[in-house]
């Protein structure tokens, strides 16, 4: 699997996927993570959790880091060291402070007719580790990990 799709400016190989910051690419990301997780020997029952966590991370990048500008770059790397399955997602958009994202409050959302922070809440609940690095003006990187002993 090594091909470069010039038409959509996406890049894909065994270790890395690069897509532009458009919501239509979320399904491309999900398919890639699906295949990578199965290949790493993750229990098919648990693959869905990882796919959703990565979707939420990319959705946040598209909406917040790139503010829906469609030609930002999202790089997705898959690392597998036989103990942990890790997805590292890098963007070059606006930085943010993950600690400032409040925990979800459904009653408040009900009154405000909108939701926020659900994606991050899901990521933390679905994965064993979630780490953020933000270098303002340079890049943001989120790492999502699952311990393989619990999901293989």
């Amino acid at each position: 699997m090594r091909l470069k799709n010039l038409k959509t400016n996406n890049y894909i190989d065994d270790k890395k996927l690069i897509v532009q910051s458009r919501t239509e690419n979320l399904s491309v990301v999900r398919d890639y993570i699906h295949d990578a997780a199965l290949k790493a020997g993750i229990n098919p029952e648990k693959v869905g959790d990882i796919i959703l966590a990565v979707d939420e991370a990319c959705t946040n990048i598209i909406k917040h880091a790139y503010k829906s500008i469609p030609d930002g770059k999202i790089e997705i790397q898959v690392l597998n060291n036989y103990k942990k399955f890790t997805i590292v997602i890098t963007d070059y958009g606006s930085s943010f402070e993950p600690k400032k994202v409040p925990a979800p409050d459904l009653q408040k959302y009900y009154q405000q007719h909108r939701v926020g922070g659900l994606g991050m809440y899901l990521m933390k609940n679905l994965m064993d580790e979630v780490d953020y690095i933000s270098v303002p003006g340079k890049y943001n990187r989120v790492s999502l990990s699952k311990n393989l002993n619990t999901v293989s």
Partner: protein
């Protein structure tokens, strides 16, 4: 490209929206349109059937939050039915069962609306 489609069926005064495929940040606007159309037509008794929905992300869940208050202000409701376990688990993880009635079957959800209507008419 994520496949997603909706269909609407009218069962008396109750409107059933059927979801099919993948509901994410890309496809959520399609569902928003369905709700907007029903609200424009003053149709506030809405059942959403999840039988053929394979996937939902928080962007999809957000759609239900966007319309629920307006619908309840108009004596209506959004009732949810026929979710597979995977989709239900995401709703559950976020505490949505506290805000929405979730039924096993479409029949039960429609029946609940009809019972309320009957009580109001008595």
């Amino acid at each position: 490209m994520a496949e997603f489609s909706t269909a609407v069926k009218y069962r008396g005064d109750v409107n059933v929206i059927y979801l099919n495929g993948f509901l994410d940040a890309h496809t959520a606007p399609q569902l928003e349109n369905e709700f907007s159309k029903l609200i424009e037509e003053n149709k506030y008794s809405i059942v959403v059937n999840f039988k053929d929905l394979n996937y939902i992300s928080s962007a999809g869940l957000g759609v239900f939050m966007a319309f629920i208050e307006k619908i309840r202000e108009n004596k209506g409701d959004i009732k949810l039915t026929s979710m597979n376990d995977k989709v239900f688990n995401i709703f559950d993880l976020l505490g949505f069962p506290l805000l929405y009635e979730i039924f096993k079957s479409e029949e039960e959800a429609v029946k609940k609306f009809n019972e309320i209507k009957k009580l109001e008419n008595e």
